[in-house]
Amino acid sequence: MPISVTMGAVSPTMTSGHVVEWKVKVGDTVKEGDTIADVQTDKAVMPLESFDEGTVAGYLVEIGQEVAIGAPVLLLAKKGEDVKAVAAGATKSAAAPTAAKPAQAENAAPAPSANGQEPAAAPAHEHVEAAAGGRVKSTPLARKVAAAEKVDIAQVKGSGPGGRVIREDVDSFLKTRTSPPAAASKPAAAAGRPAPADTVVKLNRMQTTIAARMTEAKRVAPDIHVTVDIRIDQLVAIRERLNNSLSKEKIKLSVGDFVTKAVGVALRRHPVVNSTFDGETLTRRGEVNVGIAVALPDGLIVPVLKNADQLGLKDIRTGSEALYEAARSNKLTAAQMNGGTFTISNLGMFGVREFDAILNLPQVGILAVGAAEKRPVVEGDKLVVGTMMTVTLTADHRVVNGADAAEFLRTLKGLLEEPATMLL
């Protein structure tokens, strides 16, 4: 019996995904653990690995086709089985479910059929054909643009040599797909200049996930917000000294790195904040893994810095930098995204003084960090200038009491005001 490789849960919260790019082709030998495809999950593009061995007999889904976790995506012929025979058997069985699927509502975007052909039938037919014929001839750039724009490349007519889909083809496909609405809403503003037309933006998968998770957090978790001001003159001085000595290594510590370090140490001392809660059971987590929220051009992602309490500032800097880079280039691995026990969201670089963050469930705490800035400070009976920073802890009040939150912040404040105490 041939083996079907199924869509695995490569991200913890995904329920479905689609193949962005195949990493193996028909005839390739696949070993256990080999990456067979890049899969777009609700969060990022991740590698999908095979748990079986065999020779690739055919693809069961197309690039861009949404499939649920557990659905077969690739067919492997076992040792001794005839690849062609397996592939022939597969086309029959694969064609049925693909065609029966409600024709890819989000991808199909029925072509504005100029000559009155049945618009619904056409895409479905092409799907079957592509599934049987194997890969779609296309250039790497065309595939990349198609994946980013959520275009099923099998629907794009190729103009390159031998019908290869080139970038220009995808671009013109996108134009025909997105043009109609504007013309219909012409009249309106009779007097004066016509206002720009509304732009309808369909959320991408990541944005949809963010929307759902934010709503979930606000709906499920009664949150409490506790704010504290921290004087960081000492920290600033130490940072400058350390950066001078690190300049040879081209490493530059940020104030945020000190916050990450201090949060790690404080979490170790206040296990209740370093917990996850599923509504019934509270799990005090053994590791202190700090998630760092990273803004992306079209979304938000929280890669995780593992064992932050045990890392030195240098490792925190380089580790965070690596995570930012991976996040921005869409290259985060599952390991870099899972296992967070607490989250930090820093808007200091935008000059924000203070703000509240929304919980990243099932974690019970998230720290919102504002800008480091000079402010008037009362010292004894005198008014002096000090460098201050305001942080706000959002905690899940179902399991974290106000006093727990305040104690955590007192520790954090102490660590940041007297950074040397982190060494204790």
Binding site: T139, P140, V145, A148, I166, R167, E325, S329
Partner: protein, 461 residues
């Protein structure tokens, strides 16, 4: 109506001979008219013989500049006459090769000056030939400098520069484009004192700025005097050669030399080519054509390809245009040259090669760019060869990693560029270049490393 031929091609250069052979392959009866020698400028007076000389210069350089490091301790002597002679014989061999190809494919040839008399008649010498279609590929000739017209003795063009009987002691070159620089490199390497004058603020103004700067440094280090932002003024002939007044940013200066090489561009060979009644449309000394319709002129049976239709005046472009044109005439295909993917090479040492947009042009076109660089000094192969000058610079669109342009300077640059032309043609992205395994140790690894450096993945820099 019965014509003598299906196709008459006027000109036997890289456009003309290629078009003629391709048409013959497609079962057409073809005549190729040539006024001088088959192969045109490229083969007889351009690309090939100059490369023979440049290889010679490189050999001299290897021994004179690098020899000591490699253990050479002799007293090398060089024979200028033999250098020129070898270059001429290379051209001669290839020229015979085209005659052979014409025989093989049954392309007729006629030698003499050609004139297109009407839409279907070409006169070559005193004979007239009729054809259903006419393809004009007459090329270009050097543009003279007003006030310093070519005399073939003291004031010369590339043609004389590659066939001198004696090595000049000194040479002034006007024009810092590929031709001027290649001759400058050659003569400087073999010991002639070279002064090059360029009007623009940098040499190779069409190349990426970083490349121009690097080449300027390399050639200056080798002893060439290069003046940029400098305007050539009065040119006077002297008993021994020429005297040239140059307006430099440092004020007016006067230079004297045995020879003055003028390489400031080209003019289309369109004079006396068409009968006036035909009314073939010209522009700026070139023939106007529609590349989207098989390079047809405003006369439906007359086509033109190659240098005579205008820039970029490159043999490989001419060749491809001729093939597109002929295949269209024969009903075989309907394609045009993709002018966004044209490689350009300058065969100095270090050599320069590029394809696509410069960083500046890419930014001006509205791209958010990501640049990857890799210097040859970090390449093991380059170190082994003692040729570590230069770098690979790749310009990508940051969003999808599309390769927008590639700019190379280095001893192997002109060979390495082909990979990037292919990458661009096949729309390979940054990752494809990084993940395509390049053999170790080679200069070509620098291409892969440059792509990697752009993404911060190169492990060698």
């Amino acid at each position: 109506m019965a014509y003598d031929y299906d196709l008459v091609v006027v000109g036997g250069g890289p456009a003309g001979y290629a078009g003629a052979i391709r048409a013959a392959q497609l079962k057409k009866r073809v005549l190729c008219a040539e006024r001088d020698k088959l192969g045109g400028i490229c083969l007889n007076w351009g690309c090939i013989p100059t490369k023979a000389l440049l290889t010679n210069a490189h050999l001299v350089e290897l021994i004179m500049r690098h020899g000591k490091a490699f253990g050479y301790s002799g007293d090398a002597k060089w024979d200028f006459g033999q250098m020129i002679g070898r270059s001429r014989s290379v051209a001669g061999n290839l020229n015979k090769g085209i005659e052979g190809l014409f025989k093989k494919y049954k392309v007729d040839s006629a030698f003499g000056v050609a004139k297109v008399l009407d839409a279907h008649t070409v006169q070559v010498g005193d004979k007239k030939y009729t054809a259903e279609s006419i393809v004009v590929a007459t090329g270009v000739r050097p543009r003279p400098l007003p006030g310093a017209e070519f005399d073939g003795k003291a004031i010369i063009s590339y043609k004389e520069a590659m066939s001198l009987t004696e090595q000049p002691k000194s040479m002034i070159i006007i024009g810092g484009g590929p031709i001027g620089l290649e001759f400058g490199y050659f003569y400087n390497a073999i010991g002639t004192k070279v002064t090059l004058v360029e009007l623009m603020d940098r040499i190779l103004p069409g190349e990426d700025e970083e490349v121009s700067k690097a080449l300027l440094g390399s050639l200056t280090k080798r002893g060439m005097q290069i003046l940029t932002s400098s305007k050539t003024g009065k040119v006077t002939k002297t008993a021994t050669g020429v005297k040239v007044e140059v307006d430099t940013p440092q004020g007016p200066k006067t230079f004297e030399a045995d020879k003055l090489l003028v390489s400031i561009g080209v003019l289309g060979n369109v004079e006396n080519l068409f009968d006036e009644k035909l009314g073939v449309e010209l522009f700026k000394g070139h023939i106007k054509v529609d590349p989207k319709k098989g390079y047809v002129t405003n006369v439906p049976s007359i086509y033109a390809v190659g240098d005579v239709i205008g820039p970029p005046w490159l043999a490989h472009v001419a060749h491809h245009e001729a093939l597109c044109c002929v295949e269209k005439i024969c009903g075989h295909s309907d394609r045009t040259v993709d002018y966004s993917i044209i490689p350009g090479c300058t065969y100095t040492d270090p050599g320069v090669a590029s394809v696509g947009l410069t960083e500046k042009a890419a930014k001006e076109a509205g791209h958010e760019v990501r640049v990857g660089r890799f210097p040859f000094v970090a390449s093991g192969r380059a170190q082994a060869a003692d040729e570590t000058e230069g770098f690979v610079k790749l310009v990508f669109d940051a969003k999808y990693g599309e390769l927008l342009g590639a700019h190379l300077i280095g001893s192997q640059a002109t060979e390495l560029i082909a990979e990037l032309v292919m990458a661009k043609k096949l729309e390979a992205t940054e990752e494809d270049i990084i993940h395509a395994m390049h053999p170790h140790p080679t200069f070509s690894e620098a291409v892969m490393e440059a792509a990697g450096q752009g993404l911060g993945e190169s492990v060698h820099i």
